[in-house]
Amino acid sequence: MAKPKVGVWSFTGCEGCQVEMLNCPEIMDLLDKVKVMRFPILEERDEKGKYDICFVEGAITTKEEEEKLKDVRKRTNFLVALGTCATYGGIPSIKNFLDEKKVEKTVYRNTSYLHSEKAEPLEKFIKVDYNMRGCPPDKDEFVRVFKDLLLEKKPKEPDFPVCVECRKKENPCLLEQGHFCLGPVTHGGCDAVCPSNEVMCHGCRGPLKDANIKREIEIFEKKGATSEDLKRILIKFAGEKFRTCDL
């Protein structure tokens, strides 16, 4: 059987997702089982033709990126949005909520030839077959999904909150201690790595579909969060998902 053709694409992000892929201990064995068509930080071989699997990192910020993404989608059988920039817009999407002209002026004094466009998730433009959330994504999840795809099995996205893994590890609860931990409403699958290191979950894996965000906001308010605090907490990795929240 011919090896599946795999491609990695990178739009607007920090490339940490690609780095995390390379950090998987078994990465060389995994790449051996496929034909790597392109992997931007390693090589840029063939861009043309069809792909069986593509991993797409980064948010979409320009018309060019949007066109390229649509083209990649057409040529790809199974497309994975890799990391939070790709699944939600990530940190770059914070600027979607700021005054554009002001944003440009802060960084570049003369902005006549520079434009700040919105950073959008892939799903805004195309159908995504698997959302691999996380900034960076979790190595175990990456390996599991990769292996599933090699077996032509449809991988399953984690659908439980961070709290589940956090409680299993018997971490002291930061929310109970008065910190604004987003664990209860955030997609798990990261082994609750932040609360396990005594840092509250800042929601890098985005809100669960049926999460009771209203209740979480009430809890935060009871603990003294102002509406400015709430905006800061929610508009970070997946701000677009909270646009409709009443803050």
């Binding site: 990178s10 739009f11 607007t12 992000g13 920090c14 490339e15 940490g16 997702c17 690609q18 780095v19 995390e20 390379l22 950090n23 201990p25 060389m28 790449l31 790597v36 992997f39 931007p40 930080i41 390693l42 090589e43 840029e44 071989r45 910020t61 320009t62 990126e65 990530g90 940190i91 770059p92 914070i94 600027k95 700021l98 002001k102 944003v103 440009e104 802060t106 960084v107 570049y108 004094r109 003369n110 030839y113 520079l114 700040s116 466009e117 950073a119 900034c135 960076p136 790595v193 932040c194 396990s196 290191n197 005594e198 840092v199 800042h202 800061r232 970070k236």
Partner: protein, 423 residues
């Protein structure tokens, strides 16, 4: 006759960039590094944010040097609020950054730069006899990952380093394990340096100025004063007033110059300024006399620095008596704070202005690659005339190799250059 040479998309570097060259009658009139990566406006998105969260945000500037951005950001915050951190915190931060250097240098040397010197288009199709070197590279990289994970909680965008110290300390047993691993693998670092030293580098030299931090009795990492090495060094007391950043209409990245001139930052600059502070093994690993003015030797400098990294990490771990300590209390106040660290690719500068409750009013971040871009252009202007007679592919290879030797932030490094207008 005017000829144009365009290298579209320089691969195996970080970010998206291309090179545009204009040649008139055999003379290079123009060499432009055009960075067309979408700007992410980090300096603007931290505005209005609390000092407690900006380090986790600026870490996302780069997936490779997160520890450097985090540390630099934290030190700027602490400076603004007059927070003194403990000696233990300083040592743990050093370890975190040593891990970051190893991660970054190993990735660049063995995954991105190696094909330039031994053939093959990428690390995935190197000649078979080099596979043991790639394996070694992976192992060294993993050690870097292990250090960052033990100290920082995760190998990419670590989260335990916070204002005043660490949210959680590593366990004694993990530190012991790390020490054991490093001692066992130490020789591999020495051999890697010997390997990089043996490769053939193009003959090319250009006098320029080198900037790096300098600190008494130690190789520079997360603190020190800025020093310069070169013909007419500028005074750097008031960095960054001397370092001007400016924009070119053809690029979304900022360029930096020191009093109008290009300069180099990074491993070679550090080595040229701080050779005598290297560890014994690192000094022995370097077979070339400093100062080294050949930018291709930046690769050798990285390999030598990795030897220093492992020696220094072992030294810290052997002497560290971990104690559970309280983080100093932080009282935000209005004012400015700035800090410089040596990121893997060179001098990194963060500056913030805060209001009285500790929210950011204004910020300025100068990254190493911005400082090296003009330097790369100037090198190309000198390198190109001497190789114009070569075949097109050879010219492209040589230019890419030079650009990559600078390890410009990782996203675009592969063999990809489209060339126009060459004979």
């Amino acid at each position: 006759m005017t000829k144009k040479l365009q290298l579209d998309h320089i691969a195996k570097i970080e970010g998206h960039a291309r090179l545009n060259v204009k040649i008139e009658d055999g003379e290079v009139k123009e060499a432009r590094m055009e960075v067309f990566e979408s700007p992410r406006f980090f300096e603007a998105i931290v505005v209005g944010r609390s000092y407690e969260e900006i380090a986790s945000m600026t870490s996302r500037i780069c997936g490779i040097c997160g520890p450097s951005h985090t540390t630099c950001c934290l030190q700027a915050i602490e400076k603004a609020f007059d927070v003194k951190v403990s000696q233990q915190t300083k040592l743990l931060r050093e370890l975190l950054n040593i891990g970051g250097w190893i991660q970054s240098h190993a990735l660049h040397l063995f995954f991105l730069a190696l094909p330039d010197y031994v053939g093959g288009t990428s690390v995935l199709d190197l000649p078979a006899r080099y596979s043991k070197h790639v394996k070694r590279g992976l192992m060294l990289k993993k050690l870097g990952n292990d250090i960052v994970t033990v100290i920082g909680g995760r190998d990419v965008h670590p989260m335990t380093a916070v204002p005043g110290g660490f949210s959680k300390l590593p366990t004694e047993s993990k530190l012991q394990w790390l020490l054991q691993e490093l001692k066992e693998r130490k020789q591999e670092f020495v051999e890697a340096a010997a390997f990089w030293q043996k490769l053939k580098y193009p003959k090319f030299e250009r006098k320029t100025e080198y900037f790096s931090l300098q600190k008494k009795n130690s190789y520079p990492l997360i603190d020190g004063h800025i020093r310069c090495f070169g013909e007419k060094c500028i005074q750097t007391k008031n960095y960054p007033r001397h370092f001007k950043e400016y924009l070119e209409p053809y690029s979304t990245a900022k360029f930096a110059v020191a009093e109008g001139k290009s300069y180099m930052v990074g491993p070679l600059a550090r080595l040229n300024l701080n050779y005598k502070e290297l560890s014994y093994n690192a000094k022995r690993a370097l077979k070339t006399k400093t100062p080294i003015q050949n930018p291709f030797y930046n690769n050798v400098a990285q390999a030598v620095e990795m030897v220093w990294c492992v020696d220094r990490a072992i030294q810290i771990l052997e002497n560290l008596k971990l104690k559970d300590e309280q983080r100093p209390e932080i009282k935000p106040k209005a004012g400015r704070g700035y800090a410089t660290v040596e990121a893997p690719r060179g001098l990194l500068f963060h500056e913030y202005k805060f209001n009285k409750s500790g929210c950011v009013l204004d910020s300025n971040i100068i990254v190493p690659t911005a400082q090296n871009l003009r330097q790369i252009e100037d090198d190309i202007k000198l390198l190109l005339p001497g190789i114009l007679k070569l075949k097109k592919e050879k010219i492209v290879d040589q230019l890419e190799k030079l650009i990559r030797a600078y390890d410009p932030c990782i996203s675009c490094s592969t063999h990809f250059l489209e060339v126009e207008g060459l004979p």
